[in-house]
């Protein structure tokens, strides 16, 4: 029983990271129609810069803030230099974002080396015991951050003027342009937001999992799986999908084999893509070929 609870908790923690990465996908996809294959690398850049800045002697809050700013700047640069020229072309968009991801990985390997790097936990290592399961304080940080970010994003998308503009650009960019919205600016905002979300996800999980120059790809794909499982579109879908994926992964790693953990995640992806492409929450017709 306590085993199951332990798996459930670690699944929820990992799942909220997948959800945060996943919601970064939707921020970009909703506005530009491009799935950013470099999404996971935003998390890697965020975590690596936070680790580097903290190692240079800055306090934790400053390191986190600077790392988020750096990642946003990277996202902005990518949008301007690589995404804008290929807007609307799905295949070229995919290949360009893959290329961008590869460049980020290579640069990270050059700047920070290829070793996996740890980050000290935000509030100590004192384990918390709950019904026979143990929880790291950092896990609470992850869960809390994910909940706050998801609720804030959901409110942003549904309640604010900016959010309405976002959704208008997603539904019909042409009509949005006709009524005077700057779709290009919205795309820039989308990229910066997803850069910030990616950085936050990477930083809060950094004390739990080591960060390495190539951790981004796996994280990015898992985030995408979260989107597919939950239904592509909003923060709630990504959050639900992330939690489902995280818990499933934790249980399969615990009861089946940790080596096959990744294969199970991708089998889930294939299953959902093929049999329920709308995800758990949404209907999405444009998926089918």
């Amino acid at each position: 029983m306590s085993d199951a609870l332990q798996f459930l908790i670690s699944g929820l923690v990992v799942g909220s990271i997948y959800g945060l990465i996943g919601v970064g996908f939707t921020c970009i996809y909703n506005v530009t129609g491009i799935v950013n294959f470099a999404q996971g690398d935003f998390a890697m850049v965020g975590a690596m810069s936070a680790i580097a800045i903290q190692a240079a002697g800055a306090p934790l809050w400053l390191a986190i803030l600077l790392a988020i700013v750096i990642t946003c700047a990277v996202a902005l640069l990518i949008e301007r230099s690589a995404i804008r020229p290929v807007r609307g072309d799905v295949m070229r968009g995919i290949i360009v974002t893959i290329g961008v991801g590869v460049v980020l990985q290579g640069l990270a390997a050059i700047v920070w080396g290829t070793d996996a790097q740890p980050m000290p936990a935000f509030s100590g290592e004192q384990l918390i015991h709950v019904f026979g399961a143990t929880v790291m304080p950092q896990s609470l940080w992850v869960l809390g951050t994910a909940i706050v970010a998801m609720v804030a994003l959901d409110l942003l998308f549904r309640r604010t003027y900016l959010g309405q503009m976002f959704r208008a650009c997603a539904m019909n960019p042409f009509a949005a342009r006709l009524v005077g919205m700057k779709v290009e600016t919205m795309s820039l905002v989308g990229f910066v937001m997803s850069g910030a979300l990616g950085a936050i996800a990477g930083i809060v999980v950094a004390p739990i999992a080591l960060t390495q120059y190539d951790t981004g790809l796996q994280l990015g794909i898992k985030g995408f799986v979260a989107c597919i499982v939950g239904g592509f579109g909003g923060p709630i879908g990504a959050a639900v999908g992330g939690l489902v994926l995280g818990v499933l992964e934790a249980f399969s790693a615990g009861y089946v084999s940790s080596g096959y953990k990744n294969a199970i995640a991708f089998a889930l992806l294939l299953g959902f893509l093929l049999f329920r492409p709308g995800g758990l929450l949404g209907e999405y017709e444009r998926v089918r070929g």
Partner: protein, 316 residues
């Protein structure tokens, strides 16, 4: 029209072999081996417009398949490549049956997932694949009982297969099926409306594509003599995509140029460590944005434009 290219290619290879330089010859072998999966990917991603991020898996399955079939059935090297390629081609058809319900990003992710699942299985199935340690002791190809152990001996065999694949690919592209492929790539609904069975064409091309990859993989296994899961990861799928992008997607000879170009760049940047990854990524981005018809044509059109402006300036 294209007939001079194959003799020219053969002359180039012969010239390389004639220099007696072992380094050149091993490079040519590598280029020939990678040209097979790259041309396979060009058929599906370039001509038919269906992106795949899992082609390294077909290459890997072809390699492991050849090694394992050779080990289990005791068939001579060469026959096991053919058997393994047949199995992988059937698998590619089946994968096509599954994934071509999807398009765009979803297709890309599904093929990526397939590639990662195969990679995980290669690492985890210790009893069959040897896990991360890999398979050793794969016999080299042999001809009439003489093992082709050296690079010089294997070079003509590999390029014979590669040139055969190039000819097949060209014939396929020039055939009515080739027209259907390009129609699908341009506009699927239109292609279907004039009576093309879109899904079966896609599956067929996926099968041919998988076959090319598996042939390359099988030859690779017997050439290198040792297999580990590392070379067949997502990175190799992306590298194949880069070769196809450099070559201009729907262009068999362009893709061959892409393979040569990327192999040489990789060799040149090897001493610099991680810089080669940055170069690959940057090349991928630049070639897709600025040279959608391939690096060669992109540079040619840039040069043409520059000459045009300079002559125009002179006239005015």
């Amino acid at each position: 029209m294209m007939n001079w290219r194959i003799p020219a290619l053969i002359v180039c290879i012969a010239a390389c072999a004639a220099t007696g330089n072992g380094y050149f010859v091993s490079l040519m072998v590598i280029i020939g081996l990678q040209a097979l999966p790259a041309i396979g990917l060009a058929l599906i991603a370039g001509y038919t417009g269906q992106i795949s991020l899992g082609h390294a898996a077909f290459y890997g399955l072809g390699a492991y398949g050849a090694a394992l079939i050779g080990k289990w059935l005791g068939v001579p090297a060469g026959l096991d490549i053919v058997l393994s390629a047949a199995v992988v081609a059937a698998l590619a058809w089946a994968i096509g049956w599954l994934v071509f319900r999807l398009k765009g990003h979803y297709l890309a992710m599904a093929t990526l997932a397939f590639g990662i699942i195969v990679q995980v299985c290669l690492v985890e199935m210790h009893g069959v694949t040897g896990g991360p340690d890999g398979l050793t002791g794969i016999a080299p190809l042999s001809l009439f009982g003489v093992p082709l152990a050296s690079d010089f001996a294997i070079l003509p065999v590999i390029w014979l297969v590669t040139i055969a694949a190039i000819v097949c690919a060209q014939n396929l592209v020039a055939s009515p099926t080739g027209l259907a492929m390009r129609a699908i790539s341009e506009n699927e609904a239109t292609a279907r409306s004039v009576g093309n069975d879109v899904k079966s064409v896609k599956r067929l091309i996926m099968m041919v594509s998988g076959l090319f990859c598996a042939l390359g993989g099988g030859l690779y296994a017997h050439y290198i003599g040792y297999l580990s899961p590392g070379p067949f990861d997502v990175g190799f799928s992306i590298k194949l995509l880069l070769m196809v992008a450099i070559g201009g997607f729907a262009d068999v000879w362009g893709v061959l140029f892409g393979v040569i170009f990327i192999t040489l760049i990789g060799e040149a940047l090897k001493p610099l460590g991680a810089y080669d990854i940055v170069a690959y990524g940057a090349l991928l981005v630049i070639s897709v944005i600025y040279c959608p018809d391939g690096l060669l044509r992109g540079i040619a059109s840039l040069a043409g434009r520059a000459m045009h402006t300079s002559t125009a300036e002179r006239r005015s």
